[in-house]
């Protein structure tokens, strides 16, 4: 042996081989890219790229004021002005319009009074109208000749930002893509390498066990992060996905993605150890992925679930990955701000890798 044996070189050779193999494996590409993109596409079009609310303008309303002008120029608010008072009232009752406003000018201070009627038929969108109005009044009250701002109008900017469907769907899809790639991908690869004696053949070379695992992990992480980046960019450029701090937000999302993927790969190692053959991988892997797919806020916020179900949701790792991704992307949270979610993911990681060490089989 003239040269010293390099474990790094062996690990990188593994990573390169594995990465090539993943790229050529149809299921990996479908699960990691096509699947989430289809969901994003579907929901992106359903959501129409953003929320909009219909606000009826009362016939007696004053239109020569800054508040009306601001509403008119808002992209979220669609003003309905061509309906009679009774039509408007009936549409409000049915929730076809989300609110009716009536702005009155008066001689005393404040110079304008904004009367808003909401409807129980569309409470959620009413809340959007409310926050848009709060925002507009806040801006209006800031002008020097207007009266001092009223306390309850002080809405934070975050609350008034448009929360688009994509802002909810994309992190959920990204999280789920990482979950399936981590669990299914890892489980299939290690099971098939074991069953076809590829690993045994590797053991006849000087390669260390950790090099095999690490090489596989590096390949999967690189592949999944490229996939995540692709999904984020498609979301950003085609569906207006919100990235508050731009590039920094992308990096933070990728960091969270890598962390989530490493935890999910732990599940994959466990599945590969438990499964007897390739056909027993999907049922076992589905037991892990399906509940998280449904209960971890991939499609709906977990607050929409009945209260008895919520504790289950709050026990699942994907819930925390999704939550952290959304907070970082939409609310501009830093990684420190989501340290609670990161901590829970880390705890999951420790537990699952402890189980993986017990159940993983080399031969």
């Amino acid at each position: 042996m003239t040269k010293k044996y390099s474990n790094t070189k062996a690990t990188l050779a593994m990573a390169k081989a594995s990465f090539r193999s993943i790229l050529r494996s149809p299921s990996a590409v479908v699960f990691s890219l096509a699947f989430p993109l289809i969901f994003i596409l579907v929901f992106g079009f359903i959501g129409g790229g953003g929320v909009s609310v219909d606000v009826g303008v009362d016939k007696g309303s004053d239109s020569q004021n800054p508040i009306y002008q601001a509403l008119k120029s808002s992209k979220i608010v669609h003003l309905v002005e061509d309906e009679t008072e009774s039509e408007m009232k009936s549409n409000l009752d049915k929730g076809r319009i989300d609110a009716i406003i009536n702005i009155q000018k008066q001689a005393t201070r404040p110079p304008f009074i904004v009367n808003v009627r909401y409807t129980k038929a569309s409470l959620e969108k009413g809340n959007i109208v409310k926050s848009v109005l709060n925002n507009i009044l806040y801006e209006a009250n800031r002008t020097p000749d207007a009266p001092p701002p009223v306390a309850e109008l002080r809405e934070s900017t975050v609350e008034a930002r448009v929360y688009k469907t994509i802002d909810f769907i994309l992190p959920g899809q990204l999280g789920f893509s990482l979950l399936s790639s981590g669990v299914f991908g890892t489980a299939f690869v290690f099971l098939s390498l074991r069953m076809t004696l590829v690993i045994k053949r590797f053991f006849a070379t000087p390669v260390k066990r950790y090099s095999i695992v690490l090489g596989e992990a590096i390949a999967r992480i690189v592949f999944s992060l490229l996939g995540a980046l692709f999904i984020i960019l498609i979301g950003y450029y085609f569906f207006g996905f919100t990235l508050i701090h731009g590039f920094v937000t992308v990096l933070e999302m990728l960091f969270l993605s890598a962390l989530g993927l490493i935890v999910f790969m732990g599940f994959g190692f466990v599945v590969s150890g438990i499964a007897k053959n390739e056909s027993s991988v999907p049922p076992i892997a589905n037991i892990i992925t399906l509940p998280q797919f449904l209960l971890s806020g991939t499609f709906f916020s977990i607050t929409a679930f009945p209260t008895w179900l919520q504790p289950i949701s709050r026990a699942l790792p994907l819930t925390y990955l999704n939550d952290a991704l959304r907070q970082v992307a939409f609310e501009g949270a830093t990684l420190m701000d989501v340290s609670h979610q990161v901590l829970i993911l880390l705890i999951w990681g420790i537990i699952i890798y402890a189980v993986a060490v017990k159940t993983f089989k080399w031969e």
């Binding site: 042996m1 040269k3 044996y5 390099s6 070189k9 062996a10 990188l12 050779a13 593994m14 390169k16 081989a17 594995s18 090539r20 193999s21 050529r24 494996s25 098939s192 390498l193 076809t196 004696l197 590829v198 045994k200 053949r201 590797f202 053991f203 006849a204 070379t205 000087p206 390669v207 090099s211």
Partner: protein, 253 residues
């Protein structure tokens, strides 16, 4: 007599109550082709895999090229090449990529085409392993054992399942490798193959070695003992020695 490159002494391998290898000792000389012969389940593969560092032994001593298996298995891995019975290769990679992977695992750099040329597979460099024919698969397997320019290669039933042409083609390859200076240890169920290839053979049955010698010597001894074939073609062939020694005509695995 030439120098021993492998020394196995009192090797025992037990699985719970079953003894797969029962106190065997033998030597393999540098530059020879050494055959391990015996019925299925006799302990050939187990013995091979212990020497290949792939399986723990229960007791005994194994020295390979002056390296003690107990002390320096990693050093042994560097100087041996291994072909497993029915092993697959990393999925979705072509032959030259597989060679690249293995050379990475050995920490050396190899020209995949040069290696493939040795086994006449250059035109299959971009093919996947599973697309190869049986004979091509075995030739590729043997190519992967040569990546690290080993002193010794281990071949476990290299010709099983091949047609006669592919088998003879592989014999030529094995002889070429030996003529280039590599010691070869192989197992086979074909006595004609052992007779053509092996300088010496060991018969193993029920975990014990029941004879080690050159094929010629075995045959001569059997003939000298008064053995006669029912149908006279030749006095005897090695297959007769096999059946005579093990005393069993057919065994299921």
């Amino acid at each position: 007599m030439s120098k021993a490159i492998i020394t196995v002494e009192n090797l025992i391998k037990k699985y719970d109550s079953f003894t797969a290898v029962n106190n065997i000792s033998f030597e393999v000389f540098e530059g020879e082709i050494f055959g391990l012969l015996g019925p299925n389940g006799a302990g050939k593969t187990t013995t091979l895999e212990i020497m290949e560092t792939l399986r723990d032994k229960t007791s005994g001593k194994v020295i390979i090229h002056d390296f003690d298996l107990d002390k320096s298995p990693d050093a042994i891995k560097h100087i041996i090449g291994v072909q497993l019975q029915a092993a697959g290769y990393y999925p979705n990679l072509n032959l030259s990529e597989l060679i690249e992977l293995f050379s990475g695992l050995y920490g050396i750099s190899v020209q995949p085409m040069e290696l493939l040329a040795k086994v006449a597979l250059t035109d299959k460099a971009k093919a996947r392993y599973k697309e190869l024919s049986g004979g091509q698969k075995q030739r590729f397997s043997i190519a992967t054992t040569l990546i690290n320019q080993p002193k010794i290669i281990f071949l476990d039933e290299p010709t099983t399942g091949l047609d006669p042409q592919a088998r003879r083609n592989l014999w030529d390859l094995i002889l070429e490798i030996r003529n280039a200076g590599t010691t070869i240890v192989l197992t086979t169920h074909y006595m004609d193959e052992a007779e053509v290839l092996c300088d010496r053979v060991a018969f193993i049955d029920a975990g014990k070695i029941i004879g080690i010698d050159t094929p010629d010597k075995f045959i001569d001894n059997l003939v000298a003992s008064g053995f006669e074939r029912k149908k006279q073609v030749k006095q005897a062939n090695l297959e007769d020695v096999f059946i005579n020694l093990t005393g069993k005509e057919w065994r299921e695995d």
